[in-house]
Each structure stands twice: as structure tokens, then as C-alpha cells.
């Protein structure tokens, strides 16, 4: 398999794939909904991140998939702004773990640093 060209396009491709599946459309159907009509192979390449989507195609794709352009482009997903301490607290509540193991896991997940543990 050829490597996806850029993370942005592979994430966009996955988003298109996901929405297409949810709408129950085939790659052929989606290709046909574009103006001018595209091909199944082209949709397949877009979904696997091997082909860049042209700017004028984006609103058409959004319309065919019944999503807004910004929903389609909200990739790569911005990780929600969340405080590490909040997630660490959730881990502590949900998992019965030794404090030491919990701290190590928190560090590996980037929730805490060694410094603010002490």
C-alpha cells in the first residue's frame, strides 16, 4: 500500500469514509453525486488519503454526505481542551490501582509530570 501523503488527507479521507458508510452510500454513488461526476477509484484514493481533494469538491462532498464543510474539515480532530488533572482523577475513580501504578500510567498518558506529583 502506498503511504498516505499527509496526515491531514488521511484523516479527511477517513472522515469521508465514515460519513459515506453512515449514509449508506457506495463509492460509486458518492462519485456520481459530484459535479462533474468523479470515479469510484478516485473516491477510494481520497478515502485512503492517497489523493488530495480539490477545494471546489469539498462543499460538494459535504452536501452529498449531509454534513457541513467545517464538520468535514474538522480534521485532524483538535483534542478537546482537557486538563490532565481532570483525566487523572477520572482514571483514579474508575480504576482500582496502586497509587504508584496509577502515577506511572498518568505520566505515560501525559497527564502528570514527575514534578507535580510530589
Amino acid at each position: 500500500m502506498a503511504a498516505p501523503i499527509e496526515p491531514f488527507y488521511s484523516a479527511l479521507g477517513l472522515k469521508i469514509l465514515e460519513m459515506r458508510r453512515m449514509r449508506g452510500l457506495t463509492q460509486d454513488k458518492l462519485a456520481g453525486a459530484l459535479n462533474p461526476p468523479s470515479t469510484r477509484a478516485s473516491i477510494a484514493n481520497i478515502e485512503s488519503g492517497k489523493q488530495r481533494v480539490l477545494a471546489h469538491t469539498i462543499p460538494q462532498l459535504a452536501q452529498a454526505l449531509q454534513v457541513t464543510v467545517s464538520e468535514l474539515l474538522s480534521v485532524p480532530a483538535e483534542p478537546a481542551r482537557v486538563e490532565g488533572a481532570v483525566v487523572a482523577r477520572e482514571l483514579r475513580t474508575k480504576l482500582a490501582m496502586q497509587p504508584k501504578q496509577l502515577q506511572r500510567l498518568g505520566r505515560e498518558l501525559g497527564l502528570t509530570t514527575r514534578k507535580n506529583e510530589s
Binding site: 500500500m1 498516505p4 496526515p7 488521511s10 484523516a11 477517513l14 469514509l17 465514515e18 458508510r21 453512515m22 449508506g24 477510494a44 478515502e47 485512503s48 488519503g49 485532524p76 480532530a77 483534542p79 478537546a80 481542551r81 482537557v82 486538563e83 490532565g84 481532570v86 483525566v87 477520572e90 482514571l91 474508575k94 480504576l95 482500582a96 490501582m97 501504578q101 506511572r104 500510567l105 505515560e108 498518558l109 501525559g110 497527564l111
Partner: protein, 174 residues
């Protein structure tokens, strides 16, 4: 999302991102989805976690589990992530305990486990895409699969014999 759509999504992801060779390359799929995989000592009854934190999304896998089980867990968590199961407002940590519900078990009809069932079905289809299963089965050149065939297939796909058996029978080839 119905299970057919779940299977379809998982198979598409597997074929487009993990199709190079068997077993399906879960690391490549996870990295495309911007999911990082961590192996950690978790409480005994926990098979895996899906965590979204300030540094991004992580799959945390039970370190002491068998590699085949770990692969299933990764597939299951990728399923939760791909199907957007973790976006319950205010929740950042999803814990999966070792109860892998069966598709037609007594609890499945209650709807309580819908997300778990979807994630399991996603994992099964991701690790064992129907086309590749049929291809590998036909390569064995027998109409009647015996235990050693199932073992060989399980090894090819990097899954437990139990998971392979379930998949084969749900595809109607066993």
C-alpha cells in the same frame, strides 16, 4: 449504527490501512487514526482503556494479556474510537472489563451493551475481514474445516482460536 454498517466500516478501514499483509497491521491503523497504543499493568479485570487527554487519544492495553487477546482489545478500542463511542460529554476515560459479550447473549437484547457489541463486531471485522477470511479458507482447499485448520487460520490472522471460530461461523464457513 446497525451492525452491518459497523462491519462495513471496519472492513473498509482494514482493507485500506492494514491490507499489506496478514495479520492486519493494527499499529498502522491506530497511527492513521491518531491513536497511540500503550501497554500497562491494569487491574486484573480490565482488558483495555480508551483515554482522551491533553496529549491526544490513547488505547491502553492490559500488559499481562495474551498477544492475541491484546490485538482484539486494540481492535475493540479502535472500534469505540472510530464509532465515536467515547464522546460522552465529560467522559475522558472508557474502561473495558474482561466481559466480552456475545452477539446473541442474554444481555445483548437489553440494549445496555450496544456500544460493546458494536466495538466487538468492529474488532472482529477489522482483524478478520470477510474477504481475507474467505481467501484464506479457500487456500486451505477443503470444504470441511477441522480443528487444525481453524488453528492455522487463527495464527494467520493473529487472533485466538475462539475468536476465529466465532468469526468463521458468523460468516457461515464453519
Amino acid at each position: 449504527m446497525n451492525l452491518k454498517a459497523v462491519h462495513g466500516a471496519a472492513e473498509s478501514v482494514a482493507m485500506q490501512y492494514g491490507k499489506d499483509r496478514l495479520p492486519i497491521d493494527l499499529d498502522a491503523i491506530a497511527s492513521t487514526l491518531e491513536l497511540r497504543i500503550l501497554y500497562a499493568e491494569l487491574p486484573e479485570d480490565v482488558s483495555g482503556l480508551l483515554v482522551s487527554g491533553p496529549d491526544g487519544n490513547f488505547v491502553v492495553v492490559q500488559k499481562s494479556d495474551h498477544p492475541n487477546r491484546q490485538r482484539f482489545t486494540v481492535g475493540h478500542e479502535i472500534g469505540h474510537h472510530f464509532l465515536k463511542h467515547q464522546f460522552v460529554p465529560g467522559e475522558h476515560v472508557h474502561v473495558d472489563r474482561g466481559h466480552y459479550v456475545s452477539q446473541r447473549g442474554p444481555r445483548s437484547s437489553t440494549g445496555l451493551d450496544t456500544k460493546e457489541i458494536e466495538a466487538n463486531q468492529f474488532a472482529a471485522a477489522l482483524l478478520m475481514p470477510s474477504r481475507l477470511v474467505r481467501q484464506e479458507v479457500s487456500r486451505l482447499g477443503t470444504a470441511h474445516l477441522l480443528d487444525h485448520h481453524v488453528s492455522a487460520l487463527a495464527e494467520t490472522f493473529g487472533v485466538s482460536e475462539q475468536a476465529m471460530t466465532i468469526r468463521l461461523s458468523s460468516l457461515g464457513v464453519l
